[in-house]
Amino acid sequence: MIELLRDLIFDYTLRNVALGSALLGIVSGALGTFAVLRRQGLLGDALAHAALPGICLAFMITGEKTPILLMLGAAVTGWLGTLTLMYIIRHTALDEDAALGIVLSVFFGFGIVLLTLLQRSGNANQAGLDKYLFGQAATLVAENVTTMAILGTLALSVVIILYKEFKLITFDPSFAASIGFGASWVSVLLTFLIVIAIVIGLQTVGVVLMAAMLIGPAAAARQWTNRLDHMIMLSAAFGALSGVGGALVSISESGLPTGPMIILVLTLFVILSFTFGSARGLFWEWLHNRNRTLTPPPEVV
């Protein structure tokens, strides 16, 4: 234990991994709160899958694996996927679930094709791109962590500044519009921040499982509190703990992909929260129902 703590501080790789996965957990936890409350969890899933072709394209164009360029590519196709999704919902008879299915599979399929082409191209530099599928924390270097820190700080600052406005458009969009906060750019900005949260986590968690990092921490946090600000902080904490926990397990046990490990740790938090959460835990409800005694209501005369 002490040794692990010492390594976390002094070991270069371990420190970057821990910092990076904590950062991604905090950002996706905080923004995931809004994604979940706005019922946009599955949008996050489509978005994360749609990021894969962007990562490949960014590499094909630049020939480099600079994190900020790959993130930019991911954000561009992720955003494109979102727009396609919105368009299908608005202009066709298809429902949201069908539209999500189409966007997710088409973009992801295209991404896999590009990835396969890259692997066959004989370009030695492409090695490691496939890690974006399930994530690999061990590949996090200082440069990645810096990029994540800058983007994450920006995203969280916007949430802090526009907290009141984001809260209102999430709770009651009609009222928000009536007092002038409902302008579509507010909603677009919030969705854009969710895109940033996803993009930050892709390298560590992978495109396949990233949506869970958006939904899981927020769903767990909701079980403990009835206040939005507390929910955001708690969700960020759950995200950070799962991120660090999963990443450390994955790099200490040789070769386990990081994404699935993080999600397993997160699942533990989710199960505990749904069972024992103080605001709406199932265990308390069960206990309460078991011990209840019914008193007859007063007679109406």
Binding site: K164, F171, D172, F175, T225, R227, L228
Partner: protein, 256 residues
Amino acid sequence: MTNTNDQPPVSIKDLTVAYREKPVLWDVDLTIPAGKLVAIIGPNGAGKSTLIKAVLGIIPSAAGTIEIFGKSYAENRRFVGYVPQRTSADWDFPTNALDVVMMGTYGALGWVRRPGKAQHELAMECLVKVGMEEYAHRQISQLSGGQQQRVFLARALAQKAELYFMDEPFVGVDALTEKAIVTLLQELRNQGRTVICVHHDLDSAPDYFDWVALLNVRLIAAGEFKEAFTLENLKTTYGGVMNASLAHFQKIGLPQ
């Protein structure tokens, strides 16, 4: 009254609103006088909510002009309060009643500024006015439909408006809450404010309101109840689908 001058609270000219190709409101002209309690009445799909939402800029209008106290809504929005349909909000949202009422102060606060002690006190006062002070810290999902509606009303009071739009404030509330809401609306009217409600119940309308606008995509009639709320106008408004209600009115005679 705060500089809302002599202009009518609401003046709508040639308003047309459409969802895709289907017009929901067609060429509506409507001027509502100050200090009235106004009912907007019409069948389902008549565009009642749409009218309110178009005035408040929540949905775009295809044609026409809307003035609030003589200026555009964007310029005079600080004089306007709004109670949306209760179902438009997420009642599972992690917050309590007091916090929802405090949202009524957001408009006056403007962008970025957070509510403080003054807003907190105002919200509490408004909860007292609707008889909900005991529930201030109650999680909103644990409130009954009637209590949720009172919270929404308190939030509108916290907007300190001169003109109120309320979308079906009586839907899903019990008789006692309905009475309490009506009393409150009449109080607002007696203070010289204008209150405009989308209303469904033809029976109670003449008792609760002073002024009526009958709407079915087009504006059929508008004015004081005894002038506009005639059998003729109701038949035009409700067309062939006129129901038991009209027969009822024919039996008891229209309110004088």
